[in-house]
Symmetry: none
Subunit: 224 residues, 2 copies
DNA sequence: GCCGGACGTCAGGATCGCGTCAAGGCACCC
DNA sequence: GGGTGCCTTGACGCGATCCTGACGTCCGGC
């Protein structure tokens, strides 16, 4: 059916999840901590990730941050913490659902079904190529005319959000929210400053952009 | 930001949700029972639905069944029942998330953000095609004879409202309200000006419109 | 034939949004 | 302590966009 990456350090729970998921027809890959989780996600190309927040090495949101730039499938978060602030933080960090332990297995499977059903879109290209530059979402690398270009973290976050929606208009609110957070939805000058920097670094003629277009009053659009 | 249809029979809760959602930048439409919910969903074209399962007239799954054949956006279910069998039933009936009452407002908003974020990643089933132009509602892009045409925010808002109701008459009040807001219901000259601009940009012969028709005294109609 | 209402067209001026630049604050590394 | 990037913030000019009013046209009613 679909491949699931399960990230948890509890061996008992891992076993139970593996059995139930297999019985439901899924292909299961597991990881015991955050670093192997990110590595496995890149290697095994899962369709969906089940992620425990209480990992020994990394914080849950760090794992999410490591996955989200290039992993477009659904991420279902497991956690022992029921505080709504934790839930909000995880959801805004890119999680698609949040289930508190202890949980009912039937419910988890149903939530997984719902997530997969919705996320059944195309897996998403990890490398985006244009005539003048290349963006490797997995490796976080940009090359212009074959030579690597250094981007600051903010520039990268902005570019990847645009590149992940090729041809589509991305609203200013969506950009601001995904790069700076929900509290910065009005700071449209940030977009102007950083779009200018990206154009200066990527566009052949920054004054007349060919790939990073502005739609006045609405947002920006990356056209391959 | 996006339009939310809230379905609940609890007036208190409805009020609280309306206030919080408005504050979060959403456009809010409400319905007190299942039958009006389905009707409102068809009329108002919400981006996401928040649905209480305990409605006076219909069962929650019946409402879901009424929505799902054509409504492709996310549906977030509210319910007082915490039993996992209820959750499984609702999720498998087409719900994207299930929140038990009483709930934390911040968490609900975060789950809504997550649902909308994922729902907007869905590829454009929402493309309307005519012989001379195409409208991609998801990408917010219009092409005439294959070449992209730039629309201003107002033009786009007007066109999308018309295109979302293909073949149907859209009243002047509805257009004015959805584009300019409830305070502009009498300013019918706005419609004349912007319809003219849209025809100039889209119609093969703007003087004799083939797709954007005027119904004198009533409104306008888009015929594919 | 006359008249009123509703629509289409046009142009001009106020306003808004965007690109650009530069300066200040901050963290981090040497 | 000095230096280097990076992020934030403000100011400015310019072009696009929106609103507004005036005028012409069409059509049904009287």
């Amino acid at each position: 059916m679909s491949r699931v990456l399960v990230v948890d350090d509890d061996v008992q729970l891992l076993r139970a999840l593996r059995i139930s998921l297999r019985a439901a027809g899924h292909d299961v890959v597991t990881a015991p901590d955050g670093t192997t989780a990110v590595r496995e996600a890149a290697a095994a190309h899962p369709d969906v990730v089940v992620l425990d927040l209480g990992l020994p090495d990394l914080d849950g949101t760090e794992v999410l941050a490591g996955l989200r730039p290039w992993f477009t499938g659904p991420v279902l978060v497991l956690s022992a913490r029921a505080d709504s602030r934790d839930k909000v933080a995880a959801l805004d960090a890119g999680a698609d659902d949040y289930v508190t332990k202890p949980f009912d297995m039937a419910e988890l499977l149903a939530r997984l079904r719902a997530a997969v059903r919705r996320g059944s879109a195309e897996p998403g290209q990890a490398v985006v190529v244009t005539d003048s530059f290349t963006v490797d979402l997995a490796a976080k690398q940009v090359t212009v005319d074959g030579v690597a270009v250094r981007l600051t973290p903010t520039e990268w976050a902005l570019l990847s959000e645009l590149v992940r929606n090729p041809g589509r208009l991305v609203g200013q609110r969506q950009l601001l929210q995904s790069v700076w957070g929900p509290a910065y939805e009005r700071e449209t000058n940030y977009l102007r400053v950083y779009l200018a920097q990206l154009r200066r670094k990527l566009e052949p003629d920054p004054a007349h952009p060919r790939y990073l277009h502005t739609e006045p009053g609405m947002g920006y659009r990356f056209t391959p």
